[in-house]
């Protein structure tokens, strides 16, 4: 028996695969044809303090090996959500993790406290890195100071596992990660989407109603693997790696880079069987190499290279 389990703070997961926030609804949408008991956890669509209609349409564009989205955090707001939706998550055969977004430190604290108080919700992911809201949606994850502030407020609001989701759209993701850990994060989700844009050449206007959007899918995998690798060198808390995972080998790339768990978002749009396949094949991959626990390969991408030949002036 290969041990695929992972601990994120005080949350124990039997399988190391989470379904990315905003990509999997509340799990119910996939339940008719996916065995939710075999997928690890669902991270719910991000919820905010106030209801949000979301961005104008179109909200999606397919791009080479990826897609742009600009949903704009459409959600009914925390009060309606608690009253009408959360109770339904009780009987999900997988772990349900809430996701909270906001526009001020106060927003985050308020929403986290209310949501985390519910038994149906086993952990909270703090989305401080949504690139698809006009104002300061992503600012938190772009500034170490703001990251510290908002994470401390969320930490004070709940004792449940707190996963902080980071943005790749920064000069130094390691610095932000360190700040998030110092402020009390139990784990980090790395990465949210990469900012991008696409223009319709015939209509001569942006393809997205929101003009800009977030890039996801295999196109960003090399960017995400590096971000995980760098964050793993900056912190000691576990990382949930994500960005373009579609196969078991993709997932292993993230484990080797330093992720303790992975998240699958856009991959579900290619084939909803991917998460179950990864869980099965991951066990098989480890078994074949006589590895008994997934934990043993986390961060094990040897980096023994060095330039054997140098000119005097060389830095590299």
């Amino acid at each position: 028996m290969v041990d695929l389990s992972v601990d994120l703070g005080n949350l124990h997961l039997q399988y190391p695969t989470l379904m990315g926030s905003g990509c999997y609804g509340s799990g119910e949408e996939f339940a008719p044809f996916v065995d939710l008991s075999r997928i690890g956890a669902v991270v719910l669509k991000s919820v905010t303090r106030q209801p949000r209609l979301g961005n104008p349409t179109p909200r999606l564009v397919h791009t080479p090996a990826g897609m742009l989205n600009a949903i704009g955090l459409q959600n009914p707001g925390i009060d309606w959500y608690l009253e009408h939706d959360v109770a339904k998550f009780a009987d999900r055969p997988c772990v349900v993790i809430g996701s909270v977004a906001g526009f001020s430190v106060d927003d985050y604290a308020y929403t986290v406290e209310k949501l985390a108080a519910r038994d149906e919700i086993k952990a909270i992911e703090l989305n401080i890195s949504c690139p698809n809201v006009a104002s300061e949606g992503e600012t938190f994850a772009c500034d170490p100071n703001l990251t510290g502030k908002v994470v401390r407020a969320a930490r004070a609001a709940t004792g449940k596992t707190l996963i902080v989701k980071l943005s790749p759209n920064v000069t130094d993701i390691g610095a932000i990660a360190r700040e998030a850990q110092a402020a009390g994060a139990d784990a980090l989700a790395v990465i949210n989407t990469v900012r991008g844009m696409s223009i319709d050449v015939d209509l001569m206007r942006p393809r997205l109603g929101n003009v800009t959007g977030g890039l996801s899918g295999p196109a960003i995998r090399p960017i995400a693997v590096l971000a995980v690798y760098e964050v793993a060198r900056a912190v000691t808390i576990p990382i949930v790696g994500q960005g373009g995972i579609e196969t078991t080998r993709d997932a292993i790339e993230f484990f080797l880079a330093g992720a303790s768990a992975v998240s699958i978002g856009t991959g579900n749009f290619t084939d909803p069987r991917i998460p179950m396949r990864i869980v099965d094949e991951l066990a098989e991959f480890l078994r074949r190499r006589n590895v008994r626990s997934l934990k043993q390969i986390v961060g094990k991408a040897n980096v023994g290279f060095a330039n054997p030949y140098q000119y005097e002036g060389d830095e590299g």
Binding site: T57, P58, L60, M67, I71, N268, D271, R273
Partner: protein
């Protein structure tokens, strides 16, 4: 609209037949008896890319009879190109049936409007209506005669078929909605599927005729099952199809974004706020 989304499954099917109706217009038939059993007119499927290299593709269910279902598509980009290369005997993953279909109860005289590839979603409702004894007139427009694919099929199924082409190579030269607007006969209902500009025109004509119109919309999809909120369209807040959300009638507007894949793809024209 009648829901069909309670029974979707991932079907692993084999291609049983492949026809090229016109250059770049392909019908793929496959064996999927359980899917046929629960399919309703207006349903669609998400076709998993055989190479695993892109997002799944939304396609209407064209035919559904006995053990066999089919999809009809136009080759417009990478994914439809990949599907066009499938051969008889190849295996394909198909998620469905999905979505809420057309509402056909009690209709006795129906105008169906199809533009281009929209033809793919209207055979099933046409068959069901004819079977229930309704009069069905198909208004079918395309760029050219060649692309008026399978038009005889609809005649054989018992529809009266009126056609138009953009280039005048067959039927009325111009938009198919011109013909709809000129009709002397006021149907009980209009069902339509096609490009968005055509659907907007249908909505206008239907409003003028004071006939309820059901429009099958197309949007770029990601998940296709209601999980990502990417495929939305603005709907009046008090629509029976509106998703569970607080009333959003502020700023003088009572709108909510509904998912084309989950609340749709068929919507009442008068409830759309697009």
């Amino acid at each position: 609209m009648p829901t069909i989304s309670s029974a979707p499954t991932v079907h692993t099917v084999r291609i049983t037949d492949r026809r090229e109706l016109a250059p770049g217009v392909v019908v793929l038939g496959f064996d999927a008896p359980e899917m046929v059993r629960v399919t309703r007119p207006g349903a669609f499927v998400m076709v998993i890319p055989p190479g695993g290299e892109s997002a799944a593709t939304a396609l209407g269910i064209y035919e559904a009879d006995g053990r066999r279902a089919s999809v009809l598509f136009f080759v417009v980009g990478k994914r439809t190109q990949e599907l066009a290369e499938m051969r008889v005997g190849d295996e394909l993953g198909v998620v469905g049936p999905l979505g809420n279909g057309f509402s056909l109860d009690g209709l006795s005289d129906v105008a169906i409007v199809a533009g281009g590839v929209g033809i793919a979603s209207v055979l099933l409702p046409a068959q069901a209506l004819v079977a229930s004894g309704a009069r069905v007139r198909l208004y079918y427009g395309a760029r050219s005669a060649e692309l008026l694919v399978d038009r005889e099929r609809f005649a054989r199924e018992g529809c009266e078929v009126l056609v138009s082409t953009d280039d005048g190579s067959m039927g009325h030269s111009g938009y198919i909605t011109d013909l709809l607007a000129q009709t002397d006969r006021r149907p009980d209902a209009i069902l339509a599927c096609g490009p968005t500009p055509m659907l907007r025109a249908v909505a206008r004509v239907a409003a003028e005729m004071n006939v309820p119109a059901q429009l099958s919309l197309e949007e770029t999809f990601a998940c296709g099952v209601g999980g990502c909120w990417g495929c939305v369209v603005p709907l009046v807040g008090n629509s029976a199809q509106a998703p569970s959300f607080p009333p959003a009638d502020r700023n003088g507007s009572d709108v909510v974004y509904a998912r084309v894949c989950k609340e749709g793809p068929v919507f009442w024209a008068h409830e759309l706020r697009w």
